[in-house]
């Protein structure tokens, strides 16, 4: 595929769409921020109306969609469900990639798109996991080290060798991966077995470690996972905030790529093969 088109969805309160669009555009891909209303509302002018199938990749960006009142991501996902559920399911089934960053991850979890164990039913009836309030009980903005654990399934990290350590910052209050009570181990094992674990938090030596290296207290240090097919990916840290080296702390060669760029490069690689 050559003319790749990417949509970064927005509603009131999503606030990382500009830098996410910019990340794709910097790699020569056509990307735009699209208001959810452009998919369904009849007040929208014709030239601004959109369909999900106008795009090849959908991104749920970071932010505080609808204020994150009720529960992080809950309102955004409810609106998506009410107007786009069937389209989105088809989109995922056809193998198109969907990315959720931070609040976007929370939206994907609320949508039942992650952990996404059932390939035939890409949006589960009800959420099977949650992103709970950080163990520190508040919003935290800090750099994090992530170890890439995926064995090759996730289309967003194909360019990253397994075991490589990257730095993406986090900025959230609700990012602690929680599985249903009593089924924690089972879920973790299933994710490992299916190759759905993508990033885990580590310390500056590359060892799995507690707070502050694991900034929210996530089970098994999980920072990001993909669905069983590998085309839906959600993570709490922000790859779009480290697209360039100068966005890192302690950069020296400012013009060089930042650690987050490979995520966008990987999915573009994947889309080119479609």
């Amino acid at each position: 595929m050559d003319d790749i088109k990417v949509a970064v969805l927005r509603i009131e309160g999503t606030n990382c769409e500009d830098e996410t669009v910019k990340a794709f555009r910097s790699l020569g891909v056509w990307a735009e921020a699209v208001h959810l209303k452009q998919f369904y509302s009849d007040m929208i002018k014709e030239e601004e109306q959109r369909s999900i199938f106008d795009y090849h990749c959908i991104v749920f960006p970071g932010g505080f969609s609808a204020g994150d009142y009720v529960r992080a991501g809950a309102i955004f996902s409810a609106r998506v469900k009410s107007v786009l559920k069937r389209d989105l399911e088809e989109f995922i089934k056809e193998g198109f990639p969907v990315l959720g960053i931070c609040n976007g991850f929370q939206v994907l979890v609320e949508l039942g798109a992650l952990p996404g164990f059932d390939e035939d039913k890409p949006l589960a009836e009800k959420p099977e996991m949650a992103l709970g309030i950080n163990e520190s009980n508040r919003f935290e903005c800090r750099p994090c080290f992530l170890k890439h654990e995926n064995r090759g399934k996730c289309v967003f990290t194909k360019r990253i060798e397994k075991g490589r350590i990257l730095m993406f910052p986090v900025a959230h209050a609700e990012g602690r991966v929680i599985f249903p009570k009593g089924k924690e181990e089972e879920y973790v094992e299933r994710l490992i077995e299916n190759d759905q674990i993508v990033f885990r938090y580590v310390d500056d030596d590359g060892n799995y470690a507690g707070y502050p290296w694991n900034p929210n207290g996530s089970i098994y240090n999980i920072a990001g996972i993909c669905n069983v097919r590998g085309n839906v990916f959600g993570l709490m840290p922000h790859p779009e905030r480290v697209f360039w080296r100068y966005q890192h702390p302690n950069w020296e060669e400012a013009e060089k790529p930042g650690d987050g760029r490979v995520v966008f490069e990987s999915v573009i690689d994947y889309l080119r093969t479609l």
Binding site: E12, G13, C141, Q247
Partner: protein, 772 residues
């Protein structure tokens, strides 16, 4: 006393009163002002009486309320204007596009872009309701930047509280504990700033007993705009329509400005709750997008935010600025609640509202954009050719006054007295240097601000090149400035907030000059060219000559430094009445400095890198007035550090030139705690020690270690010897004092402390109160 018999209900199907001031005695005029919460004095009431005598009728309540808003200290700077004009304004720079006149300063960034600067106080609301007060403070400053047509790119929050260890039984009645206020204010800034998606990149946190009954919450914002898109805060021309956009109007925030223009007392809590507005960041976020979209499409002729005084101020000021009048249909304004009287609608300070002026042919397109974003937008009036404002409500004319009379307000050159400062210096060396340094590092005014900074999203928008925390990941130290890269070019903006209230408290003039010096030092330390600044002047009751004296001294010092240095003051705010019967705040002229980083790839961080030698730039003198050393040891000194704009300019230029010629690894300014604290901070951020020998410098050990003389920096540089020679050739003192190595701060003959131990003291200084 009440003047009830002077209020006459008008026979209309809504609440409207005629106020009989024509027949009112002087006592009754004062009583009317009090009854209606106007906060106007007798002279002002008499002026109004005169005006209406000429008109041959009595005013309606809405007219009196409108005048009270426009003439409040908060809106018209009636006590400060004449001194600001005399000492501070008028520093001409060809790159300043707009200074002081509008809601924000607009300054050239590069050929294509301008940056926008605003700084304000939100003190009184935050003292009553810290969470909501601080949040709406952030909301207000964002609108000030937005209304110039600019995308906000950074927030800055200087905060001042009473001492955190104040025992409960020492808290005066009606006052909240500083720790409670700190929690509330930080949470308010966090929840609002993070939600609207504008990074909070810099700030200040200062504790002093003078803030116990009056905390100060200052908020600053920087925006970026294409020069061709700068929108004036005025009506485009006759026939333009007024479009009110954003949130609905309610009873929250009534009399906010008159409340901000009087002292707080123990009854303020109950009486003034309704003056605190309610913020809604999730209305603000799409409001920003929608406003910027109509600006980008060239659909608006003017834009201004609704802040203090609400509609009453915004319409009058926008019309006056272009010499026209206005006709307003007040019943069109969308309301949050039923039964509001017209005067309440007119002066409500409900949040998240902006006023646009639009040519009639563009109105449909503007309404569409706002509808798309689900942000209400309503046409509520039009600009007229005469300089008169008329308001209609349900078909009745309820307001007709000359805009010039209402908006061009009173002005006072209030009397002041200059305080005499007796020179005292009773300082002596400490018995244990290491103990003093550790106490300094854990002092709440020095200790790590990580607890605050991490709660703010300082990276959203992905433009923060130098973060507020710098150094080893998860073990960072403080940077001198944050640097953002607002456009696609490598050019950046450095920002810092500074003031030293311990110094201004002893000596308002030299304290302010020192604060200015510190602001420049911070800008230089990251390798930025000082470009402009904004000020937020927080003082006590201006009706007291000694408070006014403090104000005048500060403004004089600021003007002297700024003019001598050649740095334009582009925006500002004066907050008086930060005073209760218990105490007044220390004079607090908060400064926000903006520097241009020509190439962000050359920005310099503060932490030691372990690669070079250490140079101390500047002269150290026995100046301990307002110092941390005095606070820790309890010694007395009133000699506040001196400075001069000429010396500062010479040193700043020499430093910037040296940065071009030498390999500089780190730079940090010397402030609270002097050389010792600066060295310790550089060690902590880098996780590395240093070996220092001060014997080449003259003077007592404790002076060299702890004095807070101005215009000094520490630099880690590859070739220290040549660097020192270079600076000395430029007439700037510099000493090679050691090298970066080991895991201790070792100062020959004075002290030796493991970095780990200093790190611990520094990190626990604030969290021992706040918890982690």
């Amino acid at each position: 006393m009440k003047a009830l018999h002077r209020y006459k209900k008008v026979d209309v199907p809504f609440e409207l009163y005629e106020i009989d001031i024509l027949n009112a005695t002087d006592e009754e005029l004062v009583a009317i002002s009090e009854d209606l919460g106007l906060a106007l004095n007798l002279d002002e009431m008499k002026r109004i009486k005169e005006y209406f005598k000429r008109k041959g009728r009595n005013p309606y309540d809405i007219e009196l309320q409108s005048i009270a808003q426009a003439w409040s200290e908060h809106c018209c700077y009636k006590s400060s204007k004449c001194y600001l004009r005399e000492y501070l304004f008028g520093i001409e720079k060809d790159y300043v596009i707009s200074a002081i006149k509008e809601d924000s300063g607009v300054v050239e960034f590069d050929e294509e872009y301008a940056y926008v600067v605003a700084l304000e106080s939100h003190n009184h609301p935050s003292a009553i309701e810290p969470y909501g007060g601080a949040a709406t403070g952030v909301g207000g400053i964002l609108r000030d930047v937005l209304c110039m047509g600019a995308q906000p790119v950074a927030l800055i929050d200087p905060l001042f509280f009473g001492n955190l260890d104040t025992p409960e039984d020492k808290i005066p009645k009606g006052t909240k504990h500083p720790l409670y206020l700190l929690y509330g204010v930080v949470a308010g800034i966090r929840d609002y700033g993070n939600r609207v998606g504008i990074p909070t990149v810099a700030g200040m946190l200062f504790f002093d007993e003078s803030y116990l009954t009056n905390c100060l919450v200052n908020v600053g914002c920087i925006g970026i705009v294409r020069k061709k898109n700068v929108v004036p805060s005025k009506v485009g021309g006759v026939g333009d329509l007024f479009v009110l956009v954003g949130g609905a109007t309610g009873r929250d925030g009534i009399h906010g400005v008159t409340f901000a223009s009087a002292e707080l007392d123990e009854s303020s809590e109950e009486e003034a709750r309704s003056a605190v507005q309610l913020g809604n960041p999730i209305m603000k976020e799409p409001l920003i997008h929608a406003c910027l979209e109509v600006v980008e499409k060239g659909l608006v002729t003017g834009m201004k935010d609704l802040g203090g005084g609400g509609l009453s101020c915004v319409i009058g000021e926008m019309a006056l600025a272009s010499g026209c009048g206005a006709e307003i249909w007040l019943d069109k304004v969308p309301l949050k609640e039923k039964g509001m009287a017209p005067w309440e609608i007119w002066i409500s300070e409900s949040q998240e509202r902006m006023m646009l002026t639009v040519r009639p042919e563009h109105v449909d397109e503007v309404l569409y954009v706002f509808q798309k974003w689900d942000v209400p937008a309503t046409v509520i009036g039009k600009a007229t050719p005469d300089r008169i404002l008329r308001i209609y409500y349900k078909g009745y004319k309820i307001y007709e006054m000359d805009i010039d009379f209402v908006v061009k307000a009173v002005e006072y050159c209030r009397p002041y007295v200059k305080r005499k400062i007796e020179a005292i210096d009773e300082t002596s060396p400490p018995s244990d240097y290491a103990k003093v340094l550790l106490e300094m590092l854990s002092h709440p005014n020095v200790a790590s601000r990580e607890w605050v900074i991490r709660q703010y999203d300082h990276e959203v928008r992905a433009c923060t090149v130098l973060k507020p925390l710098q150094g080893r990941i998860n073990r960072e130290g403080h940077g001198d400035c944050a640097v953002i890269k607002p456009t696609d070019s490598w050019r950046g903006i450095a920002v810092t907030a500074d003031v030293n209230p311990w110094m201004t408290k002893i000596d308002p003039f030299w304290g302010t000059a020192s604060s200015f010096d510190e602001m420049i030092r911070n800008l230089i330390a990251v390798n930025s060219i000082p470009h402009s600044f904004a000020d937020c002047l927080n003082f006590g009751n201006p009706e007291k000559p000694e408070r006014m004296g403090e104000f005048v001294e500060c403004v004089k010092a600021l003007g002297w430094m700024a003019k001598g240095f050649g740095l334009p003051c582009v925006s500002g705010n004066v907050s008086f009445y930060n005073e209760t019967p218990y105490s007044a705040v220390a004079p607090t002229p908060t400064l926000m400095g903006i520097g241009i980083v020509e190439d962000v790839r050359k920005a310099i961080t503060s932490n030691f890198k372990g690669k070079g030698e250490i140079v101390l730039v500047g002269e150290t003198l026995k100046e301990f007035g307002g110092s941390l050393y005095c606070a820790i040891t309890g010694q007395r000194c009133t000699i506040v550090p001196k400075t001069s704009p000429r010396r500062l300019k010479k040193s700043a230029n020499a430093m910037l030139e040296a940065f071009k010629n030498f390999k500089v690894y780190a730079c940090h300014d010397l402030a609270e705690g002097g050389l010792a604290v600066a060295l310790a901070e550089m060690c902590i951020g880098g996780g590395i020690g240093c070996v220092v020998d001060l014997r080449e410098m003259r003077g007592d050990g404790y002076v060299k270690m702890f004095a807070e003389s101005n215009t000094r920096w520490l630099v880690e540089v590859e070739d220290a010897e040549e660097f020192v020679k270079f600076l000395r050739r430029k007439g700037v003192s510099a000493y090679r004092i050691g090298s970066v190595e080991g895991d201790e701060l070792r100062i020959t003959g004075i002290l030796s402390l493991p970095v780990e131990e200093m790190d611990k003291a520094w990190r626990n200084g604030l969290t021992r109160f706040t918890g982690w």
